[in-house]
Symmetry: none
Subunit: 219 residues, 4 copies
DNA sequence: TATGAATGAGGCTTCATTCAT
DNA sequence: AATGAATGAAGCCTCATTCAT
């Protein structure tokens, strides 16, 4: 064994002595595999193979496959909601803020397909695991209250039509942004890939913005 | 054995020797189970239990689990696209036709959650099986050409803005109608069920119509 | 359907009305499949696929898989022993007859690999089915008595050493001629194919003749 | 539970955690079953029943049935070729060495019928698995080079006729020694068991020696 | 904290065979 | 004489999980 290899091994071992790092390592591998193959499709062996530790550690830290899945789902939500905080809606006028929000959400979901796939997989499982997670519920409550603020500002300024509902608005934005990613495989298989080129996605983002603003803004 | 049971058995026997009925019976059970649990989640035993024949017949007629899944997917598409033909767009003025199409599609998908779930499951599997099905591709080509006719009429009459793209329009309508069903479990778990009440769905359908028309109609 | 096709179909149907032809057809397909894949390796479906009739006919005429195998084994022996009768040993002087017999047997087995494979498969099955066949036993009794005649002539003429045993001589000739075919796959895989070229086989036949004559002829 | 059984169980437990022993145990059982029943005839359940571990371990260590078969085939060759090394040909004069080699090989194969049966089964399968095994090819290369040495010595001493080919000589010896075992079931079923008595086998070994020496030695 | 060895339960599939006409 | 439809039994294999250290 060369000296370089020894060093590498030493580094690896030092990881293993760091439980948090090991856990994060496992969760990341889990997200990839669950996102790729679904809950029953993903194999514990495949997940552990993507890991720097052994399969046994998954059981040591997460109890069982479901436990790991729940943590992976939470981690996926956490990461995405963290990313959303980068957008400061309050700094913009209501109309601009709404436009920015739709465009940002559209792009943000595009950049996080594994998150979207985790959500779809959770839908396949009737949201049974998501429903049990307080963590995720808390994360999403924040998203709604941000929208409520924006709507209040928009109605006050006279830019938005009266009676805009925060949950419905979230539904509208989500529908366009999530579908774009979640149904890419079937949609592009059936209707060609033109819509998923860079230009095609840019056009769709414009359509999404136009659709939401067309419904929310006062004519 | 009660008389009722005997009757049932007799009925069952009369099904035998009717291959098409047996096949349809199996495919229907398969759609239910695949829609409920996904490709790896669904068990051949559970499917056959929902059937009036034995597990063995699944292999007799469909070869293996994948073969059955492919046929179930095709059957699900066929059924839904058949239902869509009931809507005669040509009888309506372009604006009314578009409005009717969006509202109909929204409701039609709501009424066929198993189809939507099959599509989502196929997305989980990267559309690997859909891509191989000529049947499905042909079915969907029809949907696009219907839209092209409508767009042509709308542009000719001056109701639609110029440059409406059929595939993009299909994407817009689908996003709203599919997301509404595919993400119902997570969305209602996170944001309450108010949106999935009869009144909530009615409002969402209105939103969907407003969004699409707002983008397509000439101002 | 064209007229030509109709004709073909008619011909086929007329075969089916000829039980003996159907049986022969099945047995020939069975020999090929059993020889290729062994008793458990051969599938009834594969055999019937090689046939001009349906799988059901196999059961109709042969009862079950074993029944068909037994008949196929008998047919294979019959065919080969029939071929052996072409060689008229009595027309030759003892030494020449022996030489001719060895060379002929060597070539004859080479030309009938399916027979040899059936024999090896039967050996794998501990000769359980051959032992029950009177047909086969009778066929082989003839082979031994032919040898006894030859030995008697050879000893009488003084060409052969005294005490040559017919069964042992049969063993000697068979060992060389059967092994050459039965072990061709492994032998050529391990030691190259040079021995199975036309020239190589010719040399081996010479060796076989030399070995048998070297042991039987008086020095 | 008797005391004896308890002891046995204790012994069994002590085997656990000794992977090599478990593997060897499985391979030995596999050789017996494959030799008895062939590749498709042997059942994984039957093999595991002959084992001190569970069926599951076969898959744990060998992947699948074919994987186990390949290892069993290799182990069978290894064992037999190991046994052959006991014979020190270089210590004997060429003529004596050749005589010893033929007699030894004849007896050695007789004592290892499972090996011969594995070879025949591999021939049934067209040597598909043997061809992939480097292990086996290497083992057999050694056998040929031993023969080449002997031939060189015999030609140098003038005992052997010129032009003896190692592969052909190996073929000659193998034919007689392998056929004797591989075809014992059919041969004894057809021509009686006299040849497989102790005396009969002794005579056949003499015949085999005479046949080979008769062809190789200079007259 | 960490792990290689082991496993029970259950899933998918094959195959010879029979049923009903 | 012939057959398409149907099937029970049994085989192979996978997978999450636990054992023993």
């Amino acid at each position: 064994m060369t000296k370089a290899l020894k060093e590498k091994k030493k580094t690896k071992v030092s990881w293993k002595q760091d439980p948090d790092r090991v856990k994060r390592d496992i969760v990341n591998a889990a997200i990839e595999e669950f996102a790729r193959s679904g809950l029953s499709g993903a194999k514990i062996d495949d997940i552990s193979a993507k890991t720097d530790t052994s399969k046994r550690m998954i059981y040591y830290y997460f109890g069982d496959k479901i436990g790991l899945y729940e943590r992976a789902l939470e981690a996926a939500y956490q990461k995405v909601r963290d990313g959303e905080r980068k957008l400061d809606l309050d700094a913009l006028a209501p109309r601009d803020a709404l436009e920015a929000l739709v465009a940002f959400t559209f792009d943000h979901h595009r950049r996080n397909p594994d998150f979207i796939r985790m959500v779809m997989i959770e839908n396949v499982h009737h949201a049974d695991y998501l429903r049990q997670s307080e963590v995720i519920r808390d994360l999403n409550a924040g998203a709604i209250s941000r929208l409520e603020n924006l709507i209040a500002r928009g109605e006050a300024s006279g830019d938005f039509r009266p009676g805009v509902d925060a949950t419905e608005l979230h539904w509208q934005i989500s529908a366009l942004s999530v579908f774009n990613v979640s149904n890419k495989p079937t949609f592009s298989a059936l209707f060609g890939k033109s819509i998923y080129t860079r230009a095609g996605q840019s056009r769709l983002r414009d359509r999404a913005v136009a659709m939401v603003l067309g419904d929310v803004l006062k004519r």
